[in-house]
Amino acid sequence: MEFDKNSTLKLAKLARLSLNDEQLDSLEKDLTSIVSFIDQLKEINTEKIDPTSNSLNQDLILRDDIAENKLSNEDLLRNVPDSELGFFVVPKVIE
């Protein structure tokens, strides 16, 4: 896979990144090189193999569904860039 300006921009859009021209140039080159590196796996036959999502030989453990109140509203909002009346504030979403 050879990355060009269009495919790199499309990917950046999916990743919610905006890129300047200089970054675009170097990313096209880097992505092409990385993808050609990972493409070597295509040669390997994995037809009858099951995927491993993590190596721990144990079922995912669920906690009992009990409400806890560990962080106060104040704590939750301590790092917020913008808040009002105890809520997170973001730019208007619906016109």
Partner: protein
């Protein structure tokens, strides 16, 4: 008196009332402030440290029983969330983030009386093997080559965690290891670095990079200290759904350096003409030592070794791109204000992330995108099964596997920028243990002809950290490597 303290040594000084915890903490804080040139620390938590040290002193004066970590000055990679202490992941996007909660790992150390001196620099979001991707600038390795004056990388991503211990700015530290990020810097700085079995240590409250690979672990001066810290941070945690239910073990009390009768495998796929001769020589020395001390060395095969790096560079970026989607400027961290929400996301992320992080998010997004998911992500997970099967077969015949930790020693910080894939090759010996979830340790073996540390790696089967530590102790006690860098930075 305070030169080159270990956890064991500090605990003894305190127990014998030779010095107070406050005096120890004070002396380390002074050292840290005089060693800013190395750029190890992002935050110095002086007040918190003094407060904890005074509490230790109070326990001692009241003749209360104190544990091995009580009053011991530690420092943490800036990836562990620490309540009321800035936690940045070495990224601009978290450069204003002060958690209101404590990671399980650091909470465990805290409850055992550890004194936290501060937060250590690392590659941004732990992505790198040089510590050069940090928003706060590179960490400088305390070790210098004897023939050149270049400043060297400490390795990464836990570069600050390694450099701080090597420069004696803390007694021991905690790092995280996703593809070698504890073992490679430990090897570059002449230290012991341990990556536990996946699931042994809780990931809760640790900034996530690749959730199916990340494990926290110690960087220390001795194997004994690694055992003490591993014991302190391990154990089941119901806040991490992949935390193992296995009971914690007394790794320190059960240390036993005998290797008699053990079978130790040497994978033929790790032997390469490209491996520098001096690393090759230390590897051979290690085999001879283990054989002389009663172990049997056998050649083994891990046939899919060459697939580990490409599989890793699919899985890790995929999980990273998903994990890092949370950084959107809404609830915490940097926000670049824009008129609409999507523009705010894009501007915030573009301003907040560095180049390597952007590269990995892009690759991760690519391999997870519609039409490529099966071809890359699922394929890589299947390769992971093959790699795990290789190790499973090997461990039917051997107790441990012995390899070099890195294919090189520390290199200059201003080495010409190479293709990212060339940098990824730094992880060639360490990545397989992460993919298979196995515990692995890097042990200092000696210095090369330029006076730079070389480390070797041991890998055992899942949850066999005790055997891993025991073999490492055997090597440590036989090698008796005890060299520190000269303090050129002060």
């Amino acid at each position: 008196m305070l030169k080159n303290l270990t956890i064991e040594g500090t605990a003894k000084l305190l127990k014998d009332k030779k010095i107070s915890a406050f005096e120890i903490a004070n002396s380390y804080i002074k050292e840290i402030k005089e060693s800013k040139k190395l750029n190890c620390f992002i935050t110095i938590s002086e007040e918190v440290a003094f407060d904890a040290a005074k509490k230790t002193d109070a326990r001692i004066s009241e003749n209360k029983k104190i544990g091995l970590l009580d009053g011991v000055p530690l420092a943490y990679k800036d990836l562990f969330c620490t309540n009321n202490i800035l936690t940045t992941a070495s990224s601009k996007i978290l450069s204003n983030f002060t958690p209101t909660y404590e990671s399980t790992v650091t909470a465990n150390c805290k409850s055992q009386g550890a004194v936290v001196l501060g937060k250590l620099n690392c590659d941004e979001f732990a992505m790198g093997s040089t510590n050069k991707t940090s928003f706060y600038g590179p960490v400088i390795n305390p070790w210098k080559s004897s023939d050149k004056d270049d400043e060297l990388v400490p390795g990464g991503s836990s570069g600050g965690s390694a450099a701080a211990v090597a420069a004696d700015l803390c007694v021991a530290s905690l790092g995280t290891d996703t593809g070698g990020s504890i073992r490679q810097p430990a090897s570059f700085t002449g230290l012991v670095g341990l990556k536990p079995t996946y699931g042994r240590v809780s990931r809760w409250g640790t900034v996530a990079f690749a959730s199916s690979l990340d494990q926290a672990g110690p960087i220390s001066k001795t194997v004994e200290d690694a055992a003490i810290l591993l014991e302190a941070i391990s154990g089941h945690d119901n806040k991490d759904s992949t935390s193992s239910l296995k009971a914690n073990e007394q790794f320190y009390a059960n240390l036993n350096s005998s290797v008699k009768g053990l079978k130790i495998g040497v994978p033929k796929e790790y032997m390469s003409d490209d491996l520098p001769e001096e690393i090759q020589n230390f590897w051979n020395d290690g085999k001879k030592i283990l054989a002389k001390n009663g172990a049997e060395i056998v050649e083994i095969s891990l046939p899919s070794t060459s697939t580990a790096l490409p599989a890793y560079y699919i899985i890790a970026p995929a999980e990273a791109s998903s994990n890092l989607s949370r950084y959107d400027g809404v609830k915490y961290g940097l926000r670049v204000q824009e008129k609409n929400l999507i523009d705010m996301y894009e501007s915030t992320r573009s301003e907040g992330f560095g180049n390597e992080v952007k590269r990995r998010i892009m690759i991760g997004t690519y391999v997870l995108s519609s039409g490529y998911y099966d071809a890359y992500y699922i394929k890589a997970q299947k390769i992971r099964s093959i790699i795990k099967n290789d190790f499973d077969s090997a461990f039917k015949n051997v107790d441990a596997i012995f390899t070099p930790a890195t294919p090189n020693t520390a290199f200059p910080i201003n080495r010409e920028e190479v293709d990212p894939v060339q940098n990824y090759l730094n992880d060639i010996f360490t990545v397989p243990a992460n993919l298979a979830g196995l515990p692995a340790i890097s042990i200092p073996f000696g210095l090369d002809n330029s006076g730079l540390p070389i480390g070797m790696q041991l890998i055992t089967n899942s949850f066999e950290e005790q055997m891993l530590l025991n073999i490492a102790k055997n090597l440590q006690d036989t090698l008796n490597f005890n060299v520190q860098p000269t303090q050129w930075w002060k």
